[in-house]
């Protein structure tokens, strides 16, 4: 079986190596990825269109806002699916492996974490809010924020983390993120533009059309950040306890 599977694998490899002949050279400025009109449009016009210095954020949340919205929905659905799969799922093989950790959490670990958590969470907000001018954004900030809750669960136990961020609230927060994203899109639609055409928000906010896009992007990123935070922690809580949400690591 293993020998047999090598045949298609090597075949694919040979084809890919053969095709690599036609790929652009390393770092070539004339490569399709760098020379396409789309690329130069993004680079030259982002500043005028949205006044966002970080082109990645502008492309992510504005030019490709529709794509990013459904990426967020995918993350949300994955989290909900994990909840649904593992809910009440203790089968005959899982019952005997409930870990009860009697030992107290280590004092050095918990005190260090106690100092670290605020820094991590503030850094998460910074990454989220500063995503317009430096590398960062909703996805990155959300992951850092979710990691802080996972850190609580690792250094104390899951119950401590769940007391601060219950899984029910995770679901609500993740849904709120999607609603915030879609709500901004719908709002701009009701104001006369198209779905996710943030420039129309200038009609109700005292900013220019460009700055409306700038600030709407921040709102959208916050929505993404909420969803990613909640789903990251809910994934950890469910997977580490097989859906029982108590005991575990």
């Amino acid at each position: 079986m293993k020998k047999l599977s090598l045949i298609p694998v090597l075949l694919v490899g040979a084809l890919l190596i053969y095709a690599a002949e036609d790929f652009p050279e390393w770092g070539s400025p004339s490569a399709p990825a760098s020379a396409s009109p789309l690329s130069s449009h993004f680079i030259s016009n982002t500043g005028v269109d949205t006044e966002v210095p970080n082109m990645v954020t502008a492309v992510l949340a504005d030019y490709r806002g529709f794509d990013t919205m459904f990426e967020t929905v995918v993350v949300f659905i994955a989290g909900m699916a994990v909840l649904a799969i593992l809910k009440n799922s203790s089968g005959p093989n899982s019952k005997k492996k409930i870990f009860h950790i009697e030992t107290e959490p280590d004092i050095i670990v918990t005190n260090t974490v106690r100092l670290l958590i605020p820094v991590i969470q503030i850094f998460a907000f910074y990454v989220l809010a500063h995503g317009h001018v430096s590398p960062g954004g909703g996805f990155q900030g959300g992951v850092v924020m979710g990691a802080s809750f996972i850190m609580i669960a690792l250094s104390w136990d899951l119950d401590t983390a769940l007391a601060r961020f219950p899984v029910e609230r995770c679901t609500v927060v993740a849904g709120l993120g999607i609603i915030l994203y879609g709500g901004i899109g719908l709002l701009s639609m009701f104001l006369g533009g198209e779905f996710l055409d943030y420039a129309e928000l200038a009609n109700i906010f005292p900013v220019s059309r460009e700055m409306a896009r700038y600030h709407a992007m921040l709102g959208v990123e916050i929505g993404v950040g909420l969803t990613v935070t909640a789903i990251m922690f809910s994934l950890y809580a469910n997977l580490s306890t097989e859906g029982r949400l108590k005991g575990g690591l």
């Binding site: 490899g13 993004f42 500043g47 990426e71 799969i85 899982s94 789903i231």
Partner: protein, 293 residues
Amino acid sequence: MFEDGSIINELFIERLNYLIYVVLLLIGLHAMIAKNNLIKKLIGMSIFQTAIILFYVSVGVKEGATIPIYLPEHDPHGSHASHSDGNETEQSNHGPVVLDAELVKGYSNPLPHVLMLTAIVVGVATLGLALALCLRIYQGYGTIEEDEILAKIEGQEMGTKPSVVVKSVDSSKPATSQSAKPASKPKGSSSPSPKRSKASPRTKAKATSPTTKAKTSGAKPVSPKRKAAASKSTTTGSKKSPAKPKTAASKSTTKAKPKPRAKPKAKPTARAKATSTAKKATASKPKPKTPKK
């Protein structure tokens, strides 16, 4: 060897990024196809994903360009732009300008970065979903080895019809547990369907004993039941090397079936009996046919 134009130079120097991506992709693909363990398949999937990400990022590299974030002199709100009064919304004084073609060359394309950014996060979420499915499979079947799961599914499908229980033994070829289970069913009628044996090592240990025993006992012709014939047919049908001990195991269980009537203490499970005989058999006559790890 590394002169211009040679294939080595082409492959290892100029297009090293593509070579690495192809190698990573093949590792992932092979793991997904060939590995039996579902978790290892997932690891392969992650490696595959990493290869794609590397491909995108390496294609997006542009020589002499910086990251796709405006430098201060091009920043719409940077020091250059805001010297007039610092009011961002006023564009009459300064305002951001469209970069001309020369300046565009100084920034790399943001699009591959955007695509990979979302792909990474979505990859984490889908990996979590896959792990949840693996957990569920483990809870249901007690294993995450693909062939064992398939054997158990087959056994379940056939086991639903009581008249075809014997046949289910035949069809479920790779798993010894399957062949042992129905054999123990008729005698231990009081205990409803013994638990599926979970670990393969155990079944393997069971598997060794009967071979030795059958040989030592002069290879007495097994009662020409369908089961015995069936177990023989499994030898031909089974694909893996440990097929031999397995078939022997099923044979032994069939043969040993009439005996426990006399000895009720050996009844509880076929497993316990088999292990005990295994000890005996190995003590009496160690054979080279040891269980494979």
